[in-house]
Amino acid sequence: MIERRSPVLTYVILTAFLLLVITPFVWMILGSVKTQGELLRVPPTWLPEEPTWDNFRRLFDRPFGHYFRNSTVVAIAVTLGNLIFSSMFGYALAHLTFPFKRVLFVLVLVCLMIPGLVTFIPQYVLVVNMGLANTIPALILPFLVQPFSVFLMRQFFLGLPRELLEAGRIDGVGEVAIFFRIYLPLAGPAFATLGILTFLGSWNNFLWPLVVSSSESTYTLPVALALISTGQNQTDYGLLLAGATLVVLPILLVFLFFQRYFIQGIATSGIK
């Protein structure tokens, strides 16, 4: 009785909504291959009349290939760091007894709530004093450890049976080896979720790279895009839309392939 009423109407509303939601992306991709003249036309055109790669060519006249590489290197390093360090710590929190365990866990939980805005100036001062200002390591180091990652890995390892640990001990496997040889190989699904969420967060990260990067050698894609969009190219929409496409498209593709891990990750962090 509840379900049967007007499924057609539901479809119509959902489809209209869906179009509304994805139109900006369609508009972005179509616009990225239009000429500047066509982009400024009133009224605007839908499909590009004479599709051109010119905007992308102009984009790569600037070191956008380099920015793309910076973004990729940083995102991969941050992702690996989170997988390794958070799974080690998360496992210890889930299954081992050791001194200061509670204090450390509470400390991490508290920092889950602290906005990035609070830490970025001292982090900047620290990085400058370490001689790392405007370097790639400066973009990576502060993000190798994130409270959320530990939280997620701890929850995951709590879900794995403790009997594995006991069995390992009986077989004489060392305590640390139990983690690396027994539990870690089972962490695939959690790694997929955490890896994708971390990669995404790093790829889209903006405030910190904006603060730390001061030259083209260390710009990441979002920073480079933001800087050209507020500079003298403010109204060069062909260039900007091509840039936006370059930032968004890799993530959209990753999302299409791995969407169930994305969505599980969000739901997991939400329920707990």
Partner: protein, 329 residues
């Protein structure tokens, strides 16, 4: 898979304390099995510390320490020129905080942030919950497709999205005003007009973020008892009454979670004005976070620290208030 396995196992009773776990309680008993357990407990503690070490060290350096230093900094007159000697600064007490309150731009920024949260959070929750309820209907095909589509804006870079929206909202030939023109409405200069700029940013934020709340609500809606809905429907309760009296109470924890996390996120909104409006026109879209960043740019580190802590304090208060408010019923 993660979700199910983690949550189902988490629902089980915790594993009973084993020998090694309880061993520290048995300290003092010098019997032989006790001593062997002691060895194992020591090995376990060593392993625990070893596995924690890399994370804890990095965490201490790059997160915990900066949090403390930031608080210290907010009570000093630290400026960019003190960057090499961050502790050789003068203590100024609450001066930065007082100055922030007297700064008309900061007050405007706080007001804008308040409006952004008060309007944006309810809209985001309504959009997310509506989408989740629509997708949660019985045998809906293509559910995965819709869910993915609605979630797409969440995964994209805010900077890229801001660039695209600025293009969509252009007064002369932007898509939005073109479509409004079809129905005879002469659309305003959305981002260039003081009266519509903040509103435009709010709409964009709702568009970008409702997918997150939708996914969380979809998970939460699994807790709603369908039988209850059917019984209520038989008793003549209409859809709104059922929503109000069955769905909402069942998803109260989820609702609280979405409310808190969305508010925390919106209280820090930064990229939208930074890329789309630069805080203008006439400071009508400048946010507390953006102004804090500007103070950092001017080199006023102490002041920026104070403003960041003010935002943090407001986040703490709002979160607490929401927990109390939602728990009362």
């Amino acid at each position: 898979m993660t979700t199910q396995s983690a949550s189902s196992a988490a629902a089980l009773p915790p594993p009973s304390p084993t020998g090694s776990r309880g061993s520290h309680r048995g300290r003092g008993s010098a019997s032989r099995p006790g001593r062997r357990r002691g060895h194992r407990a020591a090995a376990e503690a060593r392993a625990g510390l070893l596995l924690s070490l890399p994370f804890v060290v990095l965490f201490g350096i790059f997160i915990a320490w900066p949090v403390l230093q930031s608080m210290f900094m907010s009570f000093t007159d630290m400026r960019i020129t003190d960057i090499r000697s961050p502790f050789a600064v003068d203590f100024v007490g609450l001066d930065n905080y007082i100055a922030a309150f007297h700064d008309p731009v900061f007050r405007r920024a706080a007001l804008n942030t308040g409006v952004f949260v008060l309007v944006g959070v309810p809209l985001t929750i309504i959009a997310g919950l509506s989408a989740a309820i629509a997708l949660n209907r019985g045998a809906l095909k293509l559910r995965g497709l819709f869910r993915m589509g609605f979630y797409t804006p969440v995964v994209t870079s805010i900077v890229a999205v801001a660039v695209v929206w600025r293009f969509l909202l252009q007064p002369e030939n932007g898509l939005v005003n073109t479509v409004l023109g079809w129905v005879g409405i002469d659309g305003p200069n959305w981002l260039g007009d003081e009266r519509t700029a903040l509103l435009s940013l709010i709409v964009m934020a709702v568009w970008r973020n409702f997918g997150t709340s939708m996914v969380i609500f979809l998970a939460g809606l699994q807790a709603v008892d369908r039988g209850l809905h059917e019984a209520a429907a038989l008793d003549g309760a209409n859809a709104w009454q059922r929503f109000r009296n069955i769905t909402i109470p069942s998803i109260r924890p989820t609702l609280l979670f979405v409310l808190v996390t969305t508010s925390i996120g919106y209280l820090q909104f930064f990229e939208e004005p930074f890329v789309m409006t630069g805080g203008g026109p006439l400071n009508s879209t400048i946010s507390a976070s953006m102004y804090t960043y500007n103070q950092f740019g001017f080199g006023n580190y102490g002041m920026a620290g104070a403003m960041a802590y003010l935002t943090f304090i407001v986040i703490g208060i709002v979160t607490l208030a929401q927990f109390r408010l939602m728990r009362e019923k």
